[in-house]
């Protein structure tokens, strides 16, 4: 990379250091001493990051059971997610990707194959859900964050955040939004983490040729697909470079760097063409000669994939060739300017880049100062009674005519108001908990009735809860006492509730005894099973 003299910045002598120093000091701590002990941790951090990239996919399967609009257990969400990333990656070429609708439409058959009996609407909704989750709709950054730890040079443990995206939404000049797979997603998909693009591609092709000579076409197809993803990835890096150079030609090293770069890229494409054409010939032959129908089909698929690779290389080559002309045109257009007439500030190099390089807390000052000075003046509104009246009487602007149709928002219903007030809960707790000696539920209900008409139901619920009380959890959480209910077979005679007349008591938890089966562990396992049914019985309300 060429050094851009203007953009470099160095700390000035200590004379000007002010109260802001501690921040700087912390940052220096973090970034100082490259290599060293950090080198050992690098691999670990890399693997942790690679692992983090798969987390959103696992998360989909973990959360699918919680979907309330479908019983999504039958869908393999991680598979659908990988397929989604595949589809987006394949749709990516130099200019655009696919938009949301196209991807959903391509996903639906795949989703439908997993649960053919389910309605089409549900398949589409599943596809949309997976897509939204891969974009992570609903967060401001539309990405994922994974916190991982590294051991710094001074031996302290630091938690750092790794931000990544799987699918990125990009806008075309026309304002349409389409999808691209991020580098992380392509890496997760291909499974070749932290490897050099070029060498990995060569390796994949060697592997492919090997596989074909041995006749293992199923594996060969996999390798060919991987090679295609690498081709796309390679094209992506080139595209970013070309886009950057087209934006501004002035400082690009036209003498050496760019021609070298283009040459090496063209040489690379040439060798790929040769390799892929050789592979194509071989597989075409293999396809035509193969007796086994399965082999024939695999070979046909391979032919298709390799042809696709070749098409992509052709596109890449066309871009590379056009780059030269773009450079010359831009050079003519941009390079023609005289020496400065007056000393001015280099806004980009002296203000924007240094501001971007500052930590957020320190960047606020400069950018706020800039904004206040560059924003111009605001004329404060002055309300007079006549203007106020006309302002109030003015009809509200019709949003439909200004910004198009206003969508009907989908509102989630407000949460149910709680059945019982906090006061009820407190009173019920008091009633149930203050019993030292075992007491009948019927007595408690009678007491509750004298306090509040609504209270008995809550007391009954508490009693039912105490019946199946999880003593183990109470011991683990270090509770002092727990309310237990026991059933001695007496039926409950009550006008409102049915079931057993439980015996309730507050029992102290003996944490020490619990560890070796002491009095804390009062509930043998066998009893547990029929408890659930019976405790339900308590709640049968006689309406």
């Amino acid at each position: 990379m060429r050094e851009t003299a203007g953009a470099r910045h160095a700390p000035v002598a200590a004379a000007t250091t002010r109260g802001t120093l501690p921040l700087r000091a912390v940052r220096d701590d973090v970034t100082a001493h490259p290599g060293g002990a950090g080198a050992v941790d690098d691999g670990l951090a890399r693997r942790l990051k690679a692992l983090a990239c798969t987390a959103p996919l696992h998360d989909l399967d973990a959360r699918k059971s919680k979907l309330d609009w479908a019983d999504a257990g039958v869908y393999q969400m991680a598979e659908i997610a990988l397929h989604t990333i595949d589809q987006v990656t394949v749709a990516m070429d130099f200019d655009t990707g696919a938009d949301h609708e196209q991807i959903v439409q391509r996903l639906v058959p795949f989703v439908a194959a997993q649960a053919p009996s389910r309605p089409v609407g549900e398949h589409e909704r599943v596809a949309r859900w997976v897509l939204d989750n891969l974009i992570n709709v609903g967060t401001v950054d539309r990405g994922f964050r994974h916190v991982y730890g590294v051991v710094a040079d001074d031996g302290t443990y630091q938690r750092r955040a790794f931000d990544f995206k799987l699918l990125v939404e990009v806008a075309t000049p026309a304002g349409e939004v389409y999808l691209r797979a991020s580098d992380e997603a392509i890496n997760v998909l291909v499974g070749a983490l932290d490897t050099d693009v070029e060498s990995a591609q060569v390796a994949a092709e060697v592997k492919l040729e090997n596989l074909i000579t041995r006749g293992r076409l199923a594996d060969a197809k996999l390798a060919a697909e991987q090679a295609r993803y690498r081709t796309v990835q390679y094209g992506e890096t080139l595209r970013a470079m070309l886009e950057a150079t087209r934006r501004d030609v002035r400082a690009v090293d036209w003498e050496e760097t760019i021609p070298e770069l283009l040459d090496s890229a063209l040489a690379h494409i040439e060798s790929r063409f040769r390799a892929e054409n050789a592979i194509l010939r071989n597989i075409t032959a293999a396809r035509d000669e193969a007796e086994d129908l399965d082999h024939k089909r695999h070979a046909a698929e391979l032919v298709e994939i390799v042809s696709d690779c070749i098409t992509r290389h052709t596109q890449l080559q066309a871009r590379l060739q056009a780059a030269g002309a773009t450079f010359r045109a831009e050079q003519d257009r941009q390079e023609f300017s005289g020496p400065p007439r007056r000393g001015g500030v280099d806004l980009f190099g002296q203000l924007l880049v240094p501001a971007l390089d500052l930590p957020v807390a320190r960047a606020v000052g400069p950018v706020e100062a800039y904004f206040a000075a560059a924003g111009g003046v605001a004329v404060p509104g002055c309300a007079t009674l006549p203007s106020l009246v006309s302002m109030l009487l003015r009809p509200a602007p019709e949003r439909e005519t200004v910004v198009g149709e206003v969508p009907e928002p989908e509102l989630t219903p407000a949460e149910q108001p709680t059945r019982f007030t906090a006061e009820h809960a407190e009173q019920a707790d008091k009633l149930v908990a203050m019993q030292q000696r075992p007491v009948r539920l019927s007595d408690l209900l009678a007491q509750a009735r004298t306090i509040d008409a609504d209270l008995p139901l809550l007391v009954a619920l508490r009693a039912a809860h105490a019946y199946g009380a999880d003593v183990g959890t109470a011991v683990r959480q270090g509770e002092q006492a727990i309310v237990l209910a026991a059933d001695d077979g007496t039926p409950l005679a009550d006008e409102r509730f049915g079931g057993s007349d439980l015996l309730l008591a507050t029992v102290e938890v003996d944490a020490a005894g619990a560890s070796h089966g002491g009095p804390g562990q009062r509930q043998p396992r066998g009893e547990h099973e029929d408890q659930d049914q019976e405790s339900d019985a308590v709640l049968e309300e006689g309406k």
Binding site: D141, R247, V249, R341, D346, F348, V377
Partner: protein
Amino acid sequence: MSGVTDTEAAARLIGFGLRPKQVPARDTAYADLVRKYQADGQFKQLTHAVAAGLGLLVLEVNQQAGAVLAAGEESAFEIKMDNYARQSKIRERRETEKVMHGVIHLATAALAFPRPDDLANDTYIGRVSVEQIDSVVREACRILDERAAQAESNGDPLSDAPELEQAWRVYARRPAAAATKDGRLAPDTTRGMISRALRFLAEQGFLVHISSDRGGTYRTTPRYQIQVRELAADRAFGELLDLDVVAVADDVGTLRADTSETL
């Protein structure tokens, strides 16, 4: 010469300056006042005094831009970042939002006047578009990213000290666009924020809308050049100097695309 009428004229000139879209070329009264300001030294002083009394600073008065004013600190005419950024969602940290907006405004000026020369040249008219600004900032972020990667240090932000995260990471992480149900621009995205900034600057008489190409294309007005050159750039530069961040410029400027090392 009557002091009272002169004072009234000076105040009227300030009044014209407060309506940023008005230019002397379209208003003879305004043009006369500008001529008077340029010819009459006493009237010039009087105008400055009236402006100072109102908490305003006269940056420049000429026929192209009219009276270009800036609000002093704590003046009633000041536009505060807090008010500008207020509409953003509260759940995001306020400082982060402020930095995002500030960076976008800086980038707008940087792209409008790419070389120091352009800022100094009175006849230069810059052109900016939403798409360009976003790509320029992202490009700067990419360069900083590569620089950080070359330093071979772990640059991932500390999870428990988000305020130490560098501004470029915040910007790079924010999506450029997001699909909305009705196809409108999502306000949280960088393109949404940029088009808001450009609309705001057009409202302030600093930019003129040309077309809707590339997310909205605008050209600069002489007023914007004066505002950035005479005041804003210096203020921000001063703040950066206070933070020990010094950058030396050459005559061609540094807004350029570096070739990527990723290949």
